[in-house]
Amino acid sequence: MRFLVVDDSATMRRIIVNSLARIGHDDALEAGDGAAALEAFDQGGVQFIITDWNMPQMSGLDFARRVRAHPKGATVPILMVTTRSAREDILAAVDAGVNNYVLKPFTPPVLKEKIDAILTSAAAA
């Protein structure tokens, strides 16, 4: 399964990619901002998106909305990994079409739990 990891922090991208490898997912693309991520997504092949919220130019929330509006983006799973913990933020993520939400700092088991939950839910749908 090909993942697209979107975060403006190179450190966080690397941690997420390493965490994915640790839980058995070693095919991951990286993007440092929403525009680059949309370009990568547009090229096809991305089956799962993990995105940060707080990014310059385009927030992760706007990126999620753009993906959902994309012809190929209606059903691709989106996991938001962020420090934003306010309830209104979490509700906004739901409205934007995000499939699950993980607060930083996270651990690889938590990441796996959320990915598995999304994939299970998608398979059942």
Binding site: N18, T82, T83, I90, N100, P105
Partner: protein
């Protein structure tokens, strides 16, 4: 003593400026109040002597008020210089220092991750190179070491979280700088007078979380409950 812009004043000057400004305003206020108070002489219509006396008093008051207003304007000019020097010398530097800290810690964090990745590869090579009949305890120790290294890597998330806090602090400083610039601009007087340098406009969509270090357990539980029922 006039203040030269760009040169910091001694700490007690701030208090002096405030005190002198306050005194000047009180004197002006008193002078204006005196002008509005009818004197007994003024009530005597047709008294030439009283009129002349009043005229002299009025002229003296106007002169006094003018002196006080001039002093007040000088104090405002000094205050403006202080604001400009605080804005330029301290706030701008602080913001750029925060930015430098973020860059330096991100670079250090990346180096740490690279080191840990190399260490994990070494552990895996040692594990693969160990004898097939190695005792299970030895294999378990390799696995434990690898897990420890992964855990250390995971802790480096602190860099992203703290850099968001620094971004927030930097944004607050930028906003303070902008407001001080506006204030200095107002104190510069009408058009034609030197205007203060415009500061960076506020970021409409900040890309940091001011509460990045807040306790997340309750919020994660809220998110879990929300998404689990979808």
């Amino acid at each position: 003593m006039p203040h030269e812009p760009g040169r910091p004043l001694p700490p007690q000057t701030h208090a002096d400026v405030l005190h002198a400004t306050d005194t000047a305003l009180r004197l002006v206020n008193q002078a204006v109040a005196d002008l509005g108070t009818p004197s007994s002489a003024a009530g005597s219509a047709g008294s030439l002597v009283a009129s002349l006396t009043n005229s002299r008093q009025l002229a003296a008051m106007v002169l006094h008020a003018n002196t006080q207003v001039a002093a007040l304007l000088e104090r405002i000019r000094v205050s403006r210089g202080l604001l400009a020097s605080a804005r330029e010398a301290q706030l701008a530097q602080m913001s750029s220092k925060f930015s430098a800290v973020t860059t330096a810690t991100e670079s250090a964090a990346t180096s740490m991750i690279e080191g840990l990745e190399r260490a994990i590869r070494v552990v895996e090579e040692l594990e693969q190179g160990s004898a097939p009949d190695a005792p299970p305890e030895r294999k378990a120790r390799f696995a434990a070491l690898r897990e420890e290294l992964f855990d250390v890597m995971n802790f480096i998330q602190f860099q992203d979280i703290t850099s968001q806090q620094l971004s927030h602090a930097s944004a607050v400083i930028d906003e303070a700088e902008r407001r001080l610039a506006d204030l200095a601009s107002v104190m510069s007087g009408p058009a034609g007078v030197e205007r203060a340098t415009p500061a960076t406009p506020p970021t409409p969509h900040p890309h940091y979380d001011a509460d990045a270090l807040a306790d997340k357990a309750e919020s994660q539980a809220f998110a879990d409950a929300l998404f689990d029922h979808r």
